[in-house]
């Protein structure tokens, strides 16, 4: 077949004639059909909804923001260490910049001077974002009920998971992250911007 000069030279796939079909026509008893579907699945086909897939991807690749404030930060560093390995859960990449992170683990007591900084960092994180309040001081003020400590970081940012402890054991924090993963898997996902329905006007175009 002669190719005209202004045709796309990369289009090299010539259409196959109908007689040479790649896929064999599917016929047979329901049991045979089921068997062939199973074989296809074993070759690597998955049936799911887009929502579940997106949630699964988001849950297993959470990137925390490196936001250690006080003693709980050391336990957070311990989960990066070799004994309680958090890279098993996909969360070892602690980003320094809030623009690249999606989980903010508030680890430690939030003082009144630090509160606007926490809010600013939360606002700088792109959606979807989650917050884990780690430890008693971040959840409710903890040991310190006085003029200098905000009684719970949920007064400043919305919190998804509270992890109690002073400091919580690294296993406790990992449990909190797993609970957050369950929460992510159960959440709704909006794909694309929400487009308002166009109102059709009667009469003039």
């Amino acid at each position: 077949m002669a190719e005209p000069k202004n045709e796309n030279p990369f289009r090299v796939l010539t259409p196959r004639p109908a007689s040479e079909s790649v896929v064999a026509p599917v016929t047979g008893t329901p049991a045979e059909l089921e068997q062939s579907v199973r074989e296809e699945v074993e070759r690597g086909i998955l049936f799911t909804s887009v929502e579940k897939m997106v949630n699964w991807a988001r849950a297993n690749a959470i990137w925390p923001l490196g936001f250690g404030l006080a003693c709980c930060a050391i336990e957070m560093m311990a989960i990066v260490g070799p004994r309680f390995d958090i890279s098993r859960f996909g969360a070892e990449v602690f980003r320094a910049s809030p623009r690249q992170a999606d989980l903010m683990i508030v680890a430690g007591r939030v003082s009144v001077k630090m509160a606007p900084v926490v809010r600013q960092l939360y606002d700088q994180m792109p959606d979807p974002k989650w917050v884990i309040s780690m430890g008693a001081c971040a959840s409710c003020g903890g040991v310190f009920n006085n003029y200098a400590i905000v009684q719970g970081v949920d007064k400043i940012v919305p919190v998804d998971v509270y992890v109690p402890g002073c400091p919580p054991r690294p296993e406790g924090l990992i449990h909190g992250i797993m609970k957050l993963q369950e929460k992510i898997m159960a959440s709704r996902v909006e794909l694309g911007p929400v487009v308002p329905k166009k109102k059709t006007k009667k009469g003039a175009a």
């Binding site: 923001l65 490196g66 936001f67 250690g68 404030l69 006080a70 003693c71 930060a73 050391i74 336990e75 560093m77 311990a78 260490g81 070799p82 004994r83 602690f94 320094a96 809030p98 430690g108 007591r109 003082s111 009144v112 001077k113 630090m114 900084v117 960092l121 040991v143 310190f144 006085n146 003029y147 200098a148 400590i149 002073c166 400091p167 054991r169």
Partner: protein, 389 residues
């Protein structure tokens, strides 16, 4: 150009903010701004008894919690005029030296991580996990122990603790050699830390630096040797001192050698405790200030009354004041108590070493490159919990 190394930064070891004025890569002025972790501990201590303030001190220098407990207990004991029994002193020395090893391990791991050596971070945290499991065995909590009390310990050490400590202490020198093999003669490490962030001896003393920062500058001053407390005069150890102008490499060598000396002291402490009995007395028998043991409370009327008074009100110290300082891993940690005769102190002032050491940062860094600021902050070994209290 003014650059803000904000409170949220991967290398500032907590919420420290440094405002840098730069000319290209050279630092013209550096101003540390602190207070992002201020917790009001000194005000809160005026509303709590001495024993109730002990858990607060864990949260100050959270890398070495038992050191802070020790400082508070020694200061309160100085105020009361009592001294803990020798077995208690030996246990305190043992646990404090293990704390020092663990704090220096965290320092080394994070300092190396800032400079770029990631492997050392993982090795150091592996050692730290062993010390934390010793803490866990002794008092139930991994980090915030609150194990020491005024006049003794909260409870006796469990059976098997000394064997575990001995095992740790026997294998620690090999691990320290590992860290040194990775770093001490590494050309990248030397290029990043030798000659960087210097602090002369006169500057260090004038600026009030203590601890490895002071010893790295060549001044041989260690409270464990010069003004001993808790029985330190009975132990045999050296005090490493820096030799080449007080740069970051000096401070690194001082701290690594301190890990070795701490291992030595811990070994001696284990022998002492074994000699005095693995289980034995763990509190002073002065019931005016220290809780009596449960057996006595159940049999003796006097002990019962004292127990009730101490638990319900707290002990009543004499009217006066006392300042006692210890050699914490970061420097001289001192507690200044003013008592008015009631169970709650009138004033508790904490002299925290990192607060004063951080003042040396502008001197170390002005005129140098921006990357040296990270090295300087790392080599100072600051903990914001202690600075901001």
């Amino acid at each position: 150009m003014t650059l803000n190394m904000g409170p949220q930064h991967p290398s500032t070891h907590g919420v420290l903010r440094v405002v840098l004025e730069l000319d290209g890569e050279t630092v013209l002025k550096a101003k540390p701004i602190i207070g992002y972790l201020h917790t009001g501990m000194e005000k809160q201590a005026e509303y709590k008894t001495y024993t109730q303030s002990i858990p607060q001190t864990d949260r100050m220098d959270y890398l070495a919690p038992l050191s802070n407990n020790l400082a508070l207990c020694l200061s309160a004991e100085k105020l009361l005029g009592i001294e803990a029994p020798p077995r208690v002193q030996a246990i305190r020395v043992l646990l404090t030296e293990l704390t020092r090893i663990s704090a220096h391990c965290v320092w080394l791991g994070t300092h190396a991580l800032d400079i770029g050596a990631m492997t050392v971070f993982f090795y150091c945290f592996r050692e730290r996990e062993k010390v934390l499991s010793i803490y866990d065995m002794v008092c139930g909590a991994r980090m915030t122990a609150s194990y020491f009390r005024v006049g003794g310990l909260a409870s006796d050490i469990p059976v098997g603790l000394l064997d575990k400590c001995e095992k740790f202490v026997d294998e620690m020198p090999a691990h320290t050699d590992e860290y040194e093999t990775l770093l001490s003669k590494n050309p990248i490490w030397l290029a990043r830390t030798e000659g960087v962030a210097p602090l002369t001896a006169a500057q260090a003393v004038a600026l009030g630096a203590t601890g490895p920062t002071l010893r790295g500058s060549g001044v041989s001053w260690d409270l464990r040797r010069n003004q001993p407390y808790s029985g330190y005069e009975q132990y045999d150890f050296d005090v490493p001192v820096g030799k080449s102008g007080g740069d970051a490499y000096d401070r690194y060598m001082v701290r690594v050698n301190e890990i070795r000396q701490s291992t030595r002291i811990a070994k001696q402490a284990i022998q002492k405790v074994r000699a005095m009995g693995e289980q034995g007395e763990y509190r002073l028998r002065d019931y005016k200030y220290v809780l009596p043991s449960k057996e006595e409370v159940k049999t003796s009327m006097e002990a019962l009354i004292h127990h009730f008074k101490i638990v319900a009100h707290g002990f009543f110290p004499p009217v006066g004041e006392a300042y006692q300082a210890i050699e914490a891993p970061k420097g001289e940690l001192g507690f200044y108590f003013i008592s008015d005769g009631t169970p709650r102190p009138w004033r508790m002032k904490v002299r925290s070493p990192s607060f004063v050491n951080l003042q040396t940062l502008p001197t170390m860094v002005e005129g140098r490159l921006v990357a040296d600021v990270i090295t300087a902050i790392g080599s100072l070994d600051i903990v914001l919990g202690e600075i901001d209290r």
